[in-house]
């Protein structure tokens, strides 16, 4: 047997992890120098598996072999020592430091108690030349684009001597052009012997880049295939065990009645306009989509609309009434609904029972309140309704929110906001991190509410979702609405070029 042992071999990995889909006897063999994609729906157990691989979680059963040797990781430190590095979906960079400082952070090369910056700078230059990833070590991270920041993360991992890279949904934050660039880099890395484990649920990307594809469904490995043996359709069937739903909506339900009118909205963050001169309106029965790379002012826009942030310029009119100076509570009572982008941070009281979560944002109104008191019976009844109508899988209204899976939590939040019959709904990333089934359900509810006359602002990173659901599509770039597009004509590539500022059009 002269064959090289696999770079990474996972045998029978099992992790019970209540509430979330666990890993159940997973087998994965990654050859040295290949690009190995691990695909599966959100919640299939990919992240758990990779965390085990990187020493962040310990498996209940099963073995991990690196280059044929069995290893036991107690922390990521152990994994790094074995040459495994991870690039997280959300970058872990200090934006006010330079590339150089970020790369050495945590593993500073020391010479007599001083950080050997010159040596580090030289090594970063070397790495970036070897792998064709141009990067100036002395630029500050806050000045870099998302694609460049990702490059910093990759260099950082290589700097620590990684020979196997785990990339967790690396394309989620990138626009199509940046994705191509990333793929070029990955091919270079692989050609020079770096092993790459690529986690994704985007099938066309996986088919393009991977040498081998392992499909995970409900915590189990269902297949390991070569990209030339399958097509996207076949992969999708493997992944979900059913056809993929699409977010298409096409009959126009838009009316003339303007529900939300925003004029010249501006938000300043530390002397800089994070949101500038944004104007748009949403009519009854209309879905207005906002496309943009994360961090281009979406959060400031949402916060200004919800009333969490006082705008520095402009006005917001809800149903013809100027609400710019209103508190969050007053706006919500006036019929403004909110589906937050991060449900754990903005949308749920995790340890509290569902009925208390059903009240959140509506706690001053019936059926949740009677005078100054909480109406427990009313809240329970409404919660039961939400659970039934929105197919939330849960034992009942007294179950704590944390016991629900992500998809069920999201369906619950959507149900909570819809059940309150809002006039305007702000939906930020309404289907992020949930499985395909729940995603389809959320889309369906959005369509139904639109037909019933809801005015909806949809902010999403999922371009297909935006193009499929929106009646009008705006592109936000560096805090400005730079283009207004017709979703029935635009392609994801075109959208991408507006999102990166490569193209400009009349807003």
């Amino acid at each position: 047997m002269s064959e090289q042992p696999p770079a990474v071999e996972l045998v029978g990995i099992t992790k019970t992890f209540p509430g979330v889909v666990a890993n159940d006897d997973i087998h994965l063999t990654v050859r040295r120098g290949e690009i190995h994609a691990v695909v599966g729906e959100n919640g299939a157990g990919k992240s758990t598996l990779m965390k085990i691989c990187y020493g962040m979680l310990r498996p209940d059963r099963g073995t991990i072999r690196i280059d044929g040797r069995e290893v036991h990781f107690r922390s990521p430190k152990d994994a790094i020592a074995e040459g495994i590095g991870m690039v997280h979906q959300h970058f872990m960079l200090a934006s006010n430091l330079t590339v150089l400082e970020n790369v050495v952070l945590g593993s500073e090369p020391a010479r007599g108690g001083w950080i050997a910056f010159d040596e580090a700078r030289r090594r970063i230059r070397e790495l970036s030349e070897t792998y064709g990833m141009p990067l100036d070590p002395d630029r500050r991270v806050e000045d870099l684009t998302v694609g460049e920041r990702q490059r910093v993360e990759i260099i950082k991992v290589l700097f620590r001597g990684a020979r196997t890279l785990i990339l967790d949904e690396p394309t989620a934050v990138l626009v199509p052009q940046e994705v191509e660039e990333l793929f070029r880099n990955l091919r270079d890395l692989s050609a020079r012997g770096v092993t790459i484990v690529f986690i994704s649920h985007k099938l066309d990307e996986v088919l393009e880049i991977a040498d081998t594809i392992t499909v995970i469904r409900s915590g189990r490995t269902v297949a390991t295939v070569k990209p030339d043996e399958v097509d996207a359709h076949r992969l999708a069937v493997l992944m979900v065990g059913a056809e993929l739903p699409t977010p298409e909506t096409r009959e126009a339900t838009v009316t003339e009645h303007v529900s939300l009118a925003v004029r010249g909205l501006g938000v300043r963050v530390e002397e800089r306009w994070a949101l500038e001169d944004v104007s748009f309106q949403i009519r009854r029965g209309e879905i207005v989509g906002v496309a943009g790379v994360e961090g281009n002012g979406q959060r400031e826009l949402v916060e200004a609309l919800i009333g969490l942030r006082r705008p520095d310029a402009g006005t917001i009119e809800l149903e013809g009434v100027d609400v710019t100076a209103w508190s969050t509570r007053r706006r919500r009572e006036a019929g403004l609904g909110y589906i937050p982008e991060d449900r754990h941070v903005w949308g749920l009281l995790l340890p509290s029972p569902l009925w208390e979560n059903a009240m959140l944002g509506h706690q001053t109104e019936p059926p949740f309140a009677r005078g100054a008191f909480v109406d427990r019976a009313g809240a329970h009844a409404r919660t039961e309704e939400i659970i039934r109508d929105y197919h939330v899988m849960t034992p009942g209204p007294d179950t704590p929110a944390l016991a629900l899976s992500g998809g069920n939590q999201q369906k619950f939040i959507v149900g909570r906001e819809m059940a309150a019959s809002p006039k305007v709904l702000i939906a930020a990333q309404p289907t992020r991190g949930i499985d395909v089934g729940a995603q389809a359900a959320v889309w369906e509810h959005i369509r139904t509410a639109r037909a019933a006359g809801l005015a909806l602002l949809l902010i999403s990173a999922d371009l297909e979702e935006l193009i499929g659901l929106s009646d009008t599509l705006h592109v936000i770039y560096r805090g400005r609405f730079v283009a207004r597009l017709d979703p029935s004509r635009v392609t994801p590539e075109e959208l991408g070029s507006y999102m990166t500022g490569a193209r400009e059009a009349a807003a």
């Binding site: 509290s352 959140l360 509506h362 706690q363 909480v374």
Partner: protein, 367 residues
Amino acid sequence: MRRWRTRLLWLLVPISALALAFVVSSIALVAIGASPIDAFRSMFRYGIRPTSLVSMVNRAVPLYVAGLAVAIGFKMNLFNIGVEGQYRIAALLSAAAGAAVALPPVLHIALIMLVAMAVGAAWAGIAGVLKVKRGVHEVVATIMLNFIATGLGAYLLANHLRKPRVGSELLIATRPIPPSGQLPPLLVTGGEDLRSFVLIAALLGVLVYVLVWRTRFGYDLRASGINPTAAQASGVDPNRMVVTTMLISGAIAGLIGMSDLFGYFHAYTLDFPTGLGFDGIAVALVGLNHPLGIAVAALLFGWVDRAAQILDLEGIPKEVIVITKGVIILSVVVAYEVVRRLVQVAEVKAAAEETRRLEAEREPVPA
């Protein structure tokens, strides 16, 4: 059934805490050369005497009120360490106010309580406003305010509120409150009388329960404690919430000294009880911030304090029970966290099972 299993799990908290306290105190007793068996036996015998039980309740009442004051802050993650200063300055000023007016009995009591609540609320409110307007952490602000309260109280008592000296009397105190501003005992025994304020304290406990668990305000309060960002997005004004909660906590704190004032001292004196505010933190922790739990914890601490009085007669330093109390506090905090996680895992598991069952029942979704 599952519910009952959960409740049994929660019982582990007090049981394990008491058991551990017992063991550690025994070790301490052995270390100083005393017999733990003798010590606990005499504590128990002395502790179950009727007089001791009355004394337990009398000691527990101020602890209970202090526990409520602290707990209401804890419910929204506000650490009102300043309960100590709030109740002392409130007791002083309300005693002085009570002595300065003549009113019919019930009104007189009500006025003294109102003054005490207003002073406590104002003193705590300073910390609330500092936090909201200047970003001063409430722990820092309330600790500093404790020092100021002590100094200010001593100054006011010595220079402005002190009653004129009679003959060679050395006692430094405010003027006595007339009988209309005193509460007669609820139960007269041969030894210590049971003070009536226990009824007001019990009522206060009910009010706190209703406020925190049954009103919209209480919902906002708890939501802010569990997830401040989500609470804010739901329409809670975090700044207003901080100030309001500090005011309520301080108002309750103002009532801590009332049992002793109405039922025993009838004036603010130099030997008025101190340290109740800090004990209140322990009581709130042990009582898991719930009025019922706080009642149990206050009675427990009251009993241990009382029963320990016998130890001096046995030649054992009664300071040993400070160790006992400390161990109870620590182990409750630890055991609570352990049980909370166990319960959480059980609940998550149950929900996951139920979900699987429900999903299995449903028809497969057509493609």
